[in-house]
């Protein structure tokens, strides 16, 4: 068994934490897990991505086309990573736009988001999610990553279930923060598959 997940976004959005959350849950389940963390030059605001590999992988780099899922915290970052994914890759994308400064410098605006999604949908299975709205609803923008992990769980693309993630959250958070993250997870799970989700 091998399950490969590329998580990508903008530095400061909690991309790496999303990777460790999934990894923690997988390890607790007895899955061999490797993850790569590449820190570029910028502390915040640059493109970041994390590869998470569950199962019988050795190295932390997902071979081209082998990703089962691409979880993008930002639409442009989803596009940027399309060259790494394959036909089977499921793409989950947060629709919040974070325009890079290279646009403003040229007095340009962010490309039309609906068009971006349509282009992607022509070739891939994509799940656009207003993760920002759901995170704010859960109580904190910073819970964006947990919302997106929730979405990924609900698609069934990860070999993990809700309880695995809840346990991983419990090892990390308590009190009010735990409540916010639990809510974010639930909202993420319901975002694309309406109704009740089985927990085991």
């Amino acid at each position: 068994m091998q399950n490969n997940i590329i998580i990508t976004g903008v530095g400061g959005q909690g991309v790496i934490t999303a990777g460790t959350l999934i990894s923690d849950a997988a390890i607790a389940k007895g899955l061999k897990t490797v993850m790569s963390e590449i820190h570029g030059l910028a502390q915040r605001g640059g493109s970041v991505s994390v590869d998470v590999r569950l199962g019988n992988a050795y190295g932390p780099i997902i071979p081209e086309g082998e990703a089962d899922a691409l979880i993008a915290f930002e639409p442009m970052e989803a596009l940027r990573n399309l060259k790494r994914v394959g036909k089977k890759t499921i793409i989950i994308v947060s629709t919040e736009k974070l325009p890079p400064i290279s646009l403003g410098i040229r007095r340009m605006e962010y490309p039309d988001i609906n068009e971006m999604m349509e282009n992607m949908a022509e070739n891939f299975t994509i799940y656009p999610v207003d993760a920002k709205k759901l995170a704010m609803e859960a109580g904190n923008y910073r819970a964006l990553n947990v919302v997106l992990v929730g979405v990924a769980i609900s698609t069934g693309v990860l070999p993990l279930n809700v309880d695995d993630i809840i346990r991983a959250l419990e090892r990390r958070f308590s009190g009010k923060l735990m409540d916010i993250n639990m809510k974010a997870l639930q909202l993420g799970i319901q975002a694309i598959v309406p109704g009740h989700v089985e927990t085991h």
Partner: protein, 625 residues
């Protein structure tokens, strides 16, 4: 994971660790008593962890002024009888190479391991030098782990080798090992209290020609004795897959990518996986070659294992076919992903690769290069410098930059960075430009970099009477590597109080007469200071002092003083200056208007000043959170 978890003294548990965290744990298990470093990616997290746990672990730890000093402190500890560990990024070893080279001659008393974190593909570096060469150059053993588990376990073995022959050992990781996470099985923490006492040992450590002469021979003898140790080391192992027909020799991160390909393609392979690579395990490799008619060497960067393998084949007259970089199959540049390894193997073994990726034509989105954070004081400084240069109508300005977050000033919209060559070089190169040209020169240097290697260059510039403006970007931390303390701060790595070193006093003592202190968040006074500095004939310094935005964030959030700014659309004159020329990532153009993203805005208030927004349309948002 909380870093305190690394202190547990249980052996039957696994933690999900970054390579660098595993190395920090390895230091505890090896019984390291003294550890030193200068932060540098990809080695930085080792120091972050050790600074957090060293006191509880009873270990001495410091962020030293630079790598050379770090090395000297660790070396002195090792010759006083304490197991010592010094770690740095690959280019840091260049700085430390002077004492490193000679330490091999004198030898040490307790173990000394020197970690170099190399950066194939240059994710955060200026070059991708292969520091395994330092092993051969200095005549010291080299150990290369492939993953976090090995990183921890091999570090302990590196100390054993070091003490076996009383020789420093080079411990070489790469970005993909240091920044790979996996579950790591812990071993027992070594708690031995060494009595440390320095004995001169009849001048053994005096590297005067008289003793160095004899020390060289002793060093060569030590390395000779370590050769059979390397042959038998369990860091060098053989793995067999399928019929095991093709022989592979590999090390480090390249092993991981090779294994992924062997797995994916179900290759019949025998893999000689080397972890103790210098002295080269000649007999082991010779025996391995004799059993395989085809040998493929998979290693990143320079053909070091390959050259030695070919030497062994030549000396021992083994006629296996050998494939690697020297015959053009593998690249000498950049890291090896499973895809690059597969591609080279397809040429050697003659198989076809089916394209895995979707290959969908979608336009590449606008670039998102690394940027200064929202609220970063450097943005304000660069903005002010650009304005001052324009106001004074200076032409052909040379921007001599340096290593730190402010190196990002080289990107648009500021374009204030013409060269960066090494730590502290902004001032040294500025001296050279001042004597070689008559162009205006502005050097940018951060606080940590100033302490690291800027001071000798400043002495040089003042002594020789050059003309330049030096802007010290003092953000009160070593920001780019994750905010480690430096000598300009009143705290040590451990959190204890320390003597704060004043950059201004150093500059005055050196003889710099024109110094202004400015707060970059106050654009008016920053502009004034920079303009005055640019007009001065001689070495002038502007110290632009304001803490790194991330540090400030943490404080503001704690004190619940967090504010954000927004744009009053009525007042906004749509001049676009804020997005075009100031370019804080929180500000963008949307639906024809300027908007500030409240989740990104840091509340620094610089964009609200008239120099950025002439219409005074940016103001504090009342939705303070």
């Amino acid at each position: 994971m909380k870093i305190e978890e690394l202190l547990v003294n249980e052996t039957n548990i696994e933690l999900f660790l970054l390579g660098n965290e595993a190395i920090a744990r390895g230091a505890l298990e090896a019984g390291v008593m003294a550890a030193t470093t200068y932060p540098g990616t990809p080695s930085s997290e080792v120091g972050d962890v050790l600074s957090g746990i060293s006191r509880k672990a009873g270990m001495y730890f410091e962020f030293s002024t630079n790598e050379k000093v770090a090395f000297e402190v660790a070396y002195a500890s090792a010759i006083s009888g304490l197991r010592s560990f010094v770690f740095m990024k690959h280019v840091g070893l260049n700085v430390a190479s002077d004492p490193f080279m000679s330490s091999a001659y004198t030898g040490i008393k307790a173990g000394l391991v020197v970690m170099t974190a190399d950066d194939p593909s240059m994710f955060s570096s200026q070059n991708e030098q292969d520091n395994r060469h330092y092993g051969e150059l200095a005549h010291v053993p080299v150990v290369e782990p492939s993953n976090p588990q090995e990183a921890k376990d091999f570090l302990i073995k590196a100390f054993e080798i070091s003490e076996l022959e009383r020789i420093p050992v080079l411990f070489r990781t790469t970005t993909r090992v240091s920044h790979m996470r996996e579950a790591v099985k812990l071993g027992p923490v070594k708690k031995e209290l060494f009595a440390s006492f320095f004995e001169p040992d009849s001048g053994r450590y005096m590297t005067l020609p008289s003793s160095a002469y004899g020390n060289k021979e002793k060093l060569i003898e030590k390395m000779k004795r370590l050769s059979p140790v390397s042959d038998k080391s369990d860091m060098n192992r053989i793995e067999r897959y399928g019929t095991g027909e093709i022989g592979f020799i590999t090390s480090g991160a390249a092993y991981n990518s090779l294994m992924d390909v062997i797995n994916m393609r179900k290759l019949d392979a025998t893999v000689l996986k080397l972890g103790f690579t210098y002295p080269f395990p000649e007999n082991l490799v010779a025996d391995f070659m004799k059993q395989h008619s085809k040998i493929i060497i998979v290693e990143e960067l320079d053909p070091i294992l390959e050259a030695r393998t070919r030497m062994v084949a030549q000396i021992k007259k083994i006629d296996s076919e050998i494939y690697g970089k020297l015959d053009g199959y593998f690249s000498m540049s950049h890291e090896y992903s499973p895809d690059t390894v597969e591609k080279s193997l397809s040429e050697i073994l003659g198989f076809n690769i089916t394209q895995h990726y979707a290959n969908v034509m979608i336009e590449e989105p606008a670039p998102r290069p690394p940027v200064l954070c929202p609220g970063c004081p450097h943005r304000a400084t660069f903005y002010a410098v650009k304005r001052a240069v324009r106001m004074l109508n200076l032409k052909n300005v040379i921007y001599s930059s340096d290593i730190g977050c402010y190196s990002l000033g080289t990107y648009e919209p500021f374009n204030e960075g013409d060269l960066i060559i090494s730590m502290g070089s902004s001032i040294g190169a500025a001296s050279g430009f001042a004597s070689a040209t008559s162009q205006p020169i502005i050097a940018f240097i951060g606080d940590s970099t100033f302490f690291h290697a800027g001071i000798p260059a400043l002495i040089n510039a003042v002594h020789n009477g050059e003309k330049m403006l030096i802007v010290v970007m003092d953000n009160r931390t070593t920001a780019m590597t994750g905010r480690q303390p430096n000598p300009g701060m009143p705290v040590k790595a451990s959190g204890e109080l320390a003597t704060e070193i004043s950059i201004e006093k150093i500059a005055r003592a050196i003889g710099v007469e024109h110094i202004s202190n400015v707060d970059p968040y106050d654009l008016a006074s920053t502009l004034q200071g920079i303009t005055a500095g640019l007009k001065y004939h001689g070495v002038s310094i502007v110290i632009a002092k304001r803490e790194c935005a991330i540090l400030r964030d943490q404080k503001m959030r704690k004190e619940k003083k967090w504010i954000t700014y927004n744009v009053d659309q009525e007042k906004c004159g749509k001049c676009m200056n804020c997005v075009e020329n100031f370019s804080c990532p929180a500000i963008s153009l949307q639906d024809g208007g300027i908007v500030i993203n409240p989740n990104l805005c840091d509340g620094c208030g610089v964009c609200a000043q008239v120099y950025v927004c002439p219409f005074r349309a940016i103001e504090v948002a009342n939705n303070a959170k």
